[in-house]
Each structure stands twice: as C-alpha cells, then as structure tokens.
C-alpha cells in the first residue's frame, strides 16, 4: 500500500513537468526499443538460418562434388573419344564404396548418392527446364520432401533402371497445367518416362556454406539414379561441351548424403569422412563436406557475437539515457530544494528523501522502459510496414532483387521473449543507478537552508 502510494506521488511530481519528463524518458524509450528490435532482427535471422540448416537435416553429412579451380595439372586428360580433354572430378563409385564400408554410425538410409543434370523436359506442347535428379528411394526422406500424389522412386525402379519419374510440384504445374500427371509420360532427351508421383510444394532453401547453393526443390524431376547414369554418354561423361573448347566433364555423383544415427555422432563421423576422402582424393580439392550441424553451430556463434555487439550498443544507449535522466534529476533537486526542506521539516528522514527521488527516477525510466517495450513489441509490424512501403514506392524490381534488397526484404524479426523483461529490467536499473547520486544530493541538503531557498 505504502509503495503504491509512493509511486503514485512520484508520478504526480513527474507530471508537474510533463514535457520535460517526456523528453527525458525518450532516451530510455529508444534505448529499450532498439534493444528489443535489434534482438528481434538477430533472433529472426538466426531462426531462419536454423530452419534452413535443419531442412538440410541435422543428422546429415553432405559431400558435394566441386569443380576444382582451373589448374591444368589437376585436370587430367583422358580419352574422351574425339581428342578433346575430359575433366574428371568429384565423387566416384570408389568413394561411395569406401564410405559405405568404412563409415560407422550410419542409419538404415545410410548413403544416398545423387547425380544432377539441368535438362529440358517436354510433354506435348509444354517445355520446362528442370533439374533432373538421379536418386534412390531414400532421397525423399533425407531431404524432408513429401509425396503429394502417387509414390516416389523405389529401389525396384533403380534395380530395373526403370524409366519412371517423380515430378516436383512446380514441374508438375508447368508440364500438366490442367490434367493429372500420374500415369502420363514426359520426354527427357528423347526418352520417355512415366510419371509415378508428385511431391508437395516446398519453400526453397537458401545457400549454405560455400558449395551448397540455394536449392529450389520445386523445379526438380526425380528419376532412378541408375537410369540417369545410363542416360549419360558412355555411362559417366556428362555430354555438355564446354564453350570454346572440346573439353568435357565427367562426374559420377554430384552429391552423396550420409545420414548418421544421432546428432551426438555427427561431428565425429564427419571427421572420419573427411579423413577418408582426404586419403582417397589425395589433396585434390574436388569435393566439399558440408555438415549442417556445424553450420548450425556457426550460426549460433554468429548470433552470440551479434548479441554481444547489440548488447554493447544497447548498453551505450541506456548509458546515454541514464546520463540524461541524472542531469534532469539534478536539476529537479535544485529546483525542488524548498520542497525537500518542507518535507524534512515535516519529519522526512534523509533516507525518505533518497527513496522519494530514487522512486521518481525509476518511475521515469521504468515508464520509458514500458513504452519502449510496447514499441519493441510492434517491431514485426513496423518491419512489415517498412517492407511494404519499400516494395511499393521506393525500390524498383531490380533494386528489390539485389542482394541488399533481398536481405532486407527477407528479414523476419522474431521477438525474443526474454528480451522484454531484460530490456525493462535494464531501464529500471538505469533509473536506480543514475538516480542514486541526485537523491543523495537531495537528502544531504541542510533542512534550514533548503527551507530558505526561494
């Protein structure tokens, strides 16, 4: 009851100078607001990163074939048949075999090799350029894809080198705008494939790490890996003739994905994979091991650094706000010297005066904190509004498509719940810290002199 009354009376004193109190509060308001807003941006970014990484599979280890830098020594010539050079690089069947035999802790799905090609697919009058993914049955689960209709590529398909195809949602839409694709046939490089299934729509994952570019699963066509490999010239050679030369590339697998049994063994297993490949590839930089879990750790580390930087910025802004408050409270004490004398004459002890002024300072900073918190809560809406204005009125389509534009338009701030009490707590502490000195100055005034003050 007493505390409530004290706070009520503190507000009465603050309301005596509304404008001044309001302006003083602004420092804290924006301090708290910026803390919450910036943490929300950081949190949003980190959640996005986490989702992307998790969509790659936290228990997965992804090995990608990478074209080595154009080093003539590295690109060994071999008989391409027509006198041109064939650049062989990347993951081989031997790699697959050795990984399959030596890597511990793998799940039932184990290893999923993938060969990708960008080719056109046709069906009656419709043509669409797609990523043809040669894969095995486990590909579906390992990439967190789901079937919308029909079924996925089966082990049987692979065994039979069957001409079956599963369309991603986007491909299905462009090749079969009106009719049901299941059971119909499509053409890829002159061969016909029977559509056995369609996968559900899925948002594209962003680029992760150096070698794993963003994947838009919606333009895929999945066929059995064995079928794809038989499609390739002489089994292995990718028949694309590189511009300006006769050289061709030979890649067996674009990617092998390993799934381990639990998160705990991911990093240990990844180490074994790296060592194994280092031995078999003999320092050739033609592959890259991407461990989503490590990326997750890196993202977390990045967020921690981000939080520390933001914390310092927030600390400085609250410090500035606090100094503003102290300044005003010192002026207030001088201005209210007589009031202090009156209170002392009526029986207030020094500590009552200290309490009064600290309560007033905290009421000021705490109110600022509350307002800042309310503003902080509106961050996602402010952002949504800002993005809308940018898109509608300011950025043209090319600017919106630029890296900066994409980065900003892609931001989805997520309010970190813990940041609310923390930011408010900081505002109160700021009031306390910067209120002590003025309050003590007030309490130390001599009652008689304070009363004489005009």
């Amino acid at each position: 009851m007493r505390l409530f009354r004290t706070i009520q009376l503190a507000f009465k004193s603050l309301l005596l100078h509304k404008l001044r109190s309001g302006l003083t509060m602004l420092g804290i308001v924006f301090g708290v607001f910026s803390v919450i807003a910036m943490l929300a941006i950081g949190e949003g970014a980190s959640q996005q990163a986490q989702q992307q990484v998790l969509s790659l599979g936290a228990t997965n280890i992804i090995i990608r074939s990478v074209k080595p830098p154009d080093d003539p020594a590295a690109s060994q010539s071999s008989s391409g048949g027509r006198g041109g050079s064939v650049q062989r690089y990347g993951l081989t069947r031997a790699d697959y075999k050795i990984l399959e035999e030596t890597i511990p802790n793998l799940t039932g799905s184990g290893l999923v090799p993938v060969r990708e090609l960008n080719l056109e697919a046709r069906r009656l009058g419709q043509v669409t350029s797609s990523r043809i993914v040669g894969c095995t049955a486990d590909y579906l689960e390992m990439n967190h894809l789901a079937i919308a209709a029909g079924r996925f590529i089966s082990d049987r398909d692979n065994f039979d080198m069957a001409n079956t195809a599963v369309l991603a949602y986007g491909t299905a839409m462009s090749l079969f705008p009106i009719d049901n694709p299941i059971g119909q046939s499509i053409q890829i490089k002159g061969r016909a494939y029977r559509v056995v299934g369609v996968t559900q729509e899925r948002t594209a994952s962003a680029a992760v790490g150096g070698s794993l570019s963003g994947q838009d699963f919606n333009k895929d066509i999945y066929i059995p890996l064995s079928t794809l490999q038989s499609l390739l010239n002489s089994g292995d050679v990718f028949s694309r003739i590189l511009p300006g030369s006769f050289s061709a590339e030979s890649v067996i697998y674009n990617q092998i994905t390993l799934q381990v049994s639990s998160i705990d063994v991911v990093e240990r297993t990844a180490e074994v994979v790296r060592e194994t490949l280092e031995r078999t590839h003999d320092k050739k930089n033609d592959y890259d091991v991407v461990v989503p879990l490590e990326l997750l750790r890196q993202a977390e580390q990045l967020r921690n650094i981000f939080n520390i930087v933001l914390g310092s910025v927030a600390g400085i802004s609250l410090l500035v706000g606090g100094i503003g408050i102290m300044n005003i409270m010192l002026a207030t004490v001088t201005e209210r010297t007589r009031e202090i004398g009156i209170r002392r004459a009526l029986g207030a002890r020094q500590r009552d005066i200290v309490n009064q002024f600290i309560t007033e300072t905290i009421a000021l900073s705490g109110t600022g904190g509350l307002i800042g918190m309310a503003m902080g809560l509106s961050t996602p809406y402010v952002f949504a509004g800002g993005k809308w204005i940018l898109k509608e009125f300011i950025l043209d389509s090319s600017a919106a498509g630029s890296e900066m534009g994409k980065m900003f338009l892609g931001m989805e701030p997520v309010i970190a719940v813990w940041s609310l009490p923390v930011a408010f707590g900081f505002s109160v502490v700021t009031g306390l810290v910067f209120g002590v000195y003025p309050a003590r100055a007030a309490a130390k005034l001599d009652p008689i002199e304070a009363l004489r003050h005009t």
Partner: protein, 238 residues
C-alpha cells in the same frame, strides 16, 4: 508544572570563515504546556535561529534543549526527524505547501513520515477530512496550492501542522504574507488551538499579532532582552 519545552543556556554559533556569528548567546526559557508565546525583536536578533532550534531543525552549539524531557542536543539526524514529525507542527510565513499535491495530500504529508505506521488508514483519512473541515477547506480538498488564496494556503498549513497531534506548534510570522483581515482569521484559529490546550510558539514583528499570545519575549543580539506581558495585551491569562 509540566513543560512542553525547556531551553537551558542555549547557544548557537555560526562559523563564517574565520569569523564567528553568535546568533544565540545563552538563552534560558521554560515553556509550560498550554503556553502561547510570542517572540519579538528586531531583525537579526536571533528569533528564527531560536525557532529552528525549538523545531529540532538544528542542534544547539551548546546548552540544552529539552523537548518533552528528551534532550534534542543529543539527537541523531533520524531522531531529529522523528521528533519533528511527532512532536512539532510547523506553520511558515510563506505557507510552504507542496505545489504538486492537492489540499488533502498536503495535509497528509506528515503521515507519510510517521515511524512504525506504513500506510494511511481510513481513520487517518477521516482525521484529515475533519481537520480540513475545521479550517474551512472541505470544498477545496482537490485544489492545488496555486488555486488557493494566501489565507486558504495558510489554513492548509495549519491543518497539516495538526495532523500528527504535536506537542508544540511553531509559527514563524504566520501572518507576515497576509493582509490584516486574513491575518486576523489565522490568528483566530491559532487562538482557538491555544484555547484547546495546545502549546504555541510564534515569531512576529507585529505588536497586535503578538498581543494574541499570553506571553511575549523580546530578543536582542541573541539573548532575551525582556519578557512579560506587553502593554495593551488582549489576553491576560487568569
């Protein structure tokens, strides 16, 4: 006889650089309960200094001040505050109300600093309302000081001085800032309080204000120059 306050050879010196101002140079005075004392004297004679000591706002340089048998010269700062709160009611020349508070809140201020009690009870509130009624401010409870006339402000101050039932009411030129008609009103209230048996000590320059008291002392150069009943005194105690 019971004394509300006793001053025994009280001295108050101020050190101004290497120069010492002797504001009070040995004052002895007994103030029995129920007394109404007027302190007069020329400017600089030590009246306010004496009243500040009586009000426990300050400690004497030497000598003794017994307030209800307690020696004020020995008190700590907190004890002085407590004594001011419970034993003394102040009325100032310039009213000294708290500007941001209403009439009622101003009357309640001494209750905020009581020792032991943590909140203002319904009985306390009732008492404040009675005091406001007594000084004729029932209609003005929600007004702020700047909305009141000088006389009304001084009446708020009187109600405030009474709220903790003090032993002594101290008034430093209570009518100094008021016109004579309003001043007389204030003096009528003080006289009433005295008739109820309260002890009142008042500093004044004006003889006809001092004449309301039943005893007058005249200060000169930090000592009591003369004491007694002035000629033309309106109220001679039986």
């Amino acid at each position: 006889m019971k004394y509300a306050a006793r001053l025994i050879n009280l001295r108050k010196h101020y050190q101004l650089g290497d120069h010492e101002v002797q504001a009070l140079r040995g004052v002895s005075l007994d103030i029995p309960e129920g007394d109404f004392l007027a302190i007069m004297g020329s400017s600089g004679s030590g009246k306010s200094t004496m009243l500040n000591l009586l009000g426990a706002l300050d400690r004497p340089t030497s000598g003794q001040y017994l307030l209800r048998d307690r020696d004020v010269s020995e008190m700590t700062d907190d004890e002085l505050s407590e004594a001011r709160n419970s034993l003394i009611g102040f009325i100032f020349q310039s009213f000294n109300l708290i500007q941001q508070y209403t009439v009622l809140e101003n009357i309640e201020v001494p209750l905020l600093y009581r020792s032991g009690t943590t909140s203002i009870s319904a009985a306390d509130r009732q008492k404040c309302l009675l005091l406001a009624d007594r000084v004729g401010l029932t209609e003005r409870l929600d007004h702020r000081p700047f909305q009141l006339s000088g006389g009304q402000q001084q009446r708020v101050a009187i109600a405030r001085a009474l709220v903790n039932d003090p032993t002594i009411i101290l008034a430093d030129e209570p009518t100094g800032n008021l016109d004579s008609a309003t001043g007389e009103e204030i003096m009528r209230i003080l006289t009433e309080l005295h008739d109820e048996g309260r002890t009142i000590i008042m500093v004044t320059h004006e003889a006809d204000v001092a004449a309301n008291a039943n005893r007058q002392i005249i200060m000169k150069d930090g000592v009591i120059a003369s004491e007694g009943i002035l000629p033309g005194n309106k109220r001679v105690r039986a």
